[in-house]
């Protein structure tokens, strides 16, 4: 079969004009326009560019939601099997538009999409995680070189074949860590890497260090007396039986449980779901991890106004940072809506 591909390009590559025509609204042209020629040649008979969607970079940048909506509609009308956008080279607004279009196509139409850019194009950082971006030179002089990997990768995606590594296939890394088997065991690689490092020879780390977020702490409460305080834990304390099935590690969810009226977490009613530590002591008395008992005392003594009725809990064991960040954002919103003044975060 021959796949039906729609090509997205800007007003410049469509031959409509330069910056003065950047306000061009989305329009659909049957068949191949501009750089689509080279792509079509590369596809051979495996895929056909059935239509080209053109949009002015200025219009897209200023009307992103509306433009995207229109473009998706146009593409859908073509019964496309896949979308290819650009190459955008180092054109920033064009790159952003290509990335946004590919992402929307993947999300909304659930068909493969890819684009191509120069690595420093701002569209790369914005969309590399969402969409495949083939690496190009910084200008249209690099078109000939960009086309073969664009075509080859799109065909692999269409055929459901697994992609090779970015450097092998020619796309920019998406920042996803993927397992593979190397030729040598880890210890051998470590020893070889050390020898190279000591000799001053080039070597490649297998895990470039990330830069960590540092969150500045919120200002301290001036007065505890009137404060509503909530408990949030990554120690996995849950009602016994773990009703929401929070995973023992790599948690994909968190729980929200009501402790109004509860002044002590007993082993009859609470336990930990955490798989990263010996649960003997947490299961014996869950207050050790989530100190409801002490906070109730302090509440009675009037040290603060109220312990929030709900507590939030997840398992911080091998749980990806990205997942944890999402939990944090969601829980923070709920706590703010509930007019909570401060949170005590407990770990294990």
């Amino acid at each position: 079969m021959t796949y039906r591909v729609v090509h997205y390009i800007n007003q410049f590559f469509a031959g409509i004009g330069g910056e003065e025509q950047a306000g061009q609204k989305p329009l659909l042209k049957e068949g191949i326009v501009g750089p689509g020629q080279a792509l079509a040649a590369e596809f051979g008979d495996k895929a056909t560019i059935v239509a080209t969607v053109v949009c002015g970079d200025g219009y897209f940048a200023e009307n992103m939601d509306e433009a995207t909506e229109t473009i998706i509609g146009l593409i859908a009308s073509c019964k496309a099997d896949a979308v290819i956008a650009g190459p955008a080279f180092n054109a920033g607004r064009y790159g952003t538009a290509c990335g946004a279009v590919c992402t929307a196509v993947k999300d909304r139409l659930a068909i493969p999409a890819l684009t191509a850019m120069y690595p420093e194009n701002p569209g790369v950082d914005l969309f590399r995680k969402e969409t495949i971006i083939v690496e190009t030179a910084d200008s249209a002089r690099g078109l000939r070189k960009a086309v073969p990997p664009m075509a080859s990768i799109l065909l692999k995606l269409l055929e459901g074949r697994e992609l090779g590594l970015p450097a092998e296939e020619g796309y920019l890394p998406q920042g996803l860590r993927k397992n593979l088997f190397r030729a040598e065991p880890g210890a051998e690689r470590a020893a070889s890497m050390l020898v190279k490092k000591l000799r001053g020879e080039p070597f490649e780390t297998e895990y470039p260090m990330p830069v960590f977020d540092r969150v500045p702490p919120a200002p301290a409460l001036k007065d505890l007396k009137g404060a509503r305080i909530a408990l949030v834990t990554s120690g996995g304390i849950v009602p016994k039986g773990n009703p929401d099935h929070i995973e023992a590690s790599s948690a994909s969810r968190y729980g929200e449980y009501d402790i109004s009226g509860v002044s002590d977490l007993t082993s009859a009613d609470y336990a930990t779901a955490h798989g990263g530590y010996d649960p003997t002591y947490a299961d014996g008395d869950a207050d050790r991890v989530l100190p409801v008992d002490v906070l109730r005392e302090m509440e009675r003594e009037g040290i603060f106004a109220k312990l929030h009725d709900l507590f939030y809990t997840t398992v911080g064991n091998g749980t990806p940072v990205a997942m944890a960040a999402r939990f944090g954002r969601e829980i923070a919103v709920k706590l703010r809506e509930a007019a909570v003044d401060a949170v005590i975060l407990t770990s294990t």
Binding site: G186, A190, H245, A322
Partner: protein, 428 residues
Amino acid sequence: MKLELHRLKVRRLAWGSRTAFDKGLLSIDRSALTDLLAKDGRFRSVTLDLALPGESVRIIPVKDVIEPRCKLDGPGEVFPGFIGDVETVGEGATLVLEGAAVVTCGAIVGFQEGIIDMSGPGADYTPFSKTCNLVVTFEPVDGLEKHEYEAACRMAGFRAARYLADSVRDVAAETIDTVQWPPLSEAMTAHPGLPKVAYLYMLQSQGLLHDTYLYGVDVKRILPTLVSPTEVMDGAVVSGNCVSACDKNSTYAHQNNPVIAALLARHGREINFVGCIVTNENVTLADKKRSSAAAVKLARMLGVEGLVISEEGFGNPDADLIMNCRRAEAAGIRTVLITDEFAGSDGASQSLADAAPEATAVVSVGNANARVVLPPMERVIGFPREANVIAGGFDGSMRDDGSIEVELQAITGATNELGFSRLSAVTV
């Protein structure tokens, strides 16, 4: 210190009327060994099974794996502090039943034991699908406290491993490897021109069943010190660790520490490997700083230019790993780290709980969050339902057809941070 490893290559296991070795076949006297292990009154039952490479067999939940060894000659006995006495080991001759392993199996913490598949996709990830395994499954007497249960299983594993080797001690070795480990007074003048290198050997010691033992001493109680490679080969370091199966160092991995092997292989050619520094991974910041400072002090004392640093576990110990790296690099000692990753099942998350720009040379032994589907097996040894609560498993991991979808985390040794396997990860 000079240690000879007398190797017999085990290619098959079978039950026999006595424990004996003949042409690759290790016959095991099932009742004699069962009786030996059942003497420990803490077990309600002791069951022995065989699991061979390529068989449609799943072992779950796996606590530890131990290579059968015993001393033939020289002071002490393998697993000092547990078997025999507390003598310094690493000299003389040690019998190694290469290719065989004792796998201990018991639901101690439930979600902190692992899975070994002897065939299928899971077998690619565990080193112990390639060994001929004697599986020992323990059930505790009623009411046995978890820490006692762990101690009982630990001892039983060592006893079984030593029993197998000791029973065939009179068989002549097929191959003999000799490791000659000189005192520092010689090592420091040997191999002029080659960079001096040491191994910083981090041992899990967070406590509450995250324990490692050195000569029988829980290492959370020590300050860093020096051991020689041959001591490690004789079982001076053993696991008492119940944590995610992928990256806890089994006793087998300690006995066959691949970092030591890799450094010895380059010794005298590319590097001058002068020592192993053992340190721990404790939970308080003061303990972390103290051990890190003391470990790097020993590296400075040795005057090495480079260190390989291996981690055990993930999360909290990442902080120890990074601290050791920063301190060593600040002291002018070049480092290479070995760690696994927890980057999420999609690989999109940060992989470590701590990071530092000084960590320029990292070996990744894989993303333990990656998922794999383990198809049903004809035979399951142990307690298969544990898959639902095992770390790396999730509710529903165990499917009706007997297949299991789990993270690599649940597979014994999948991301061993001594660098035992070829698994790694890259950014795509």
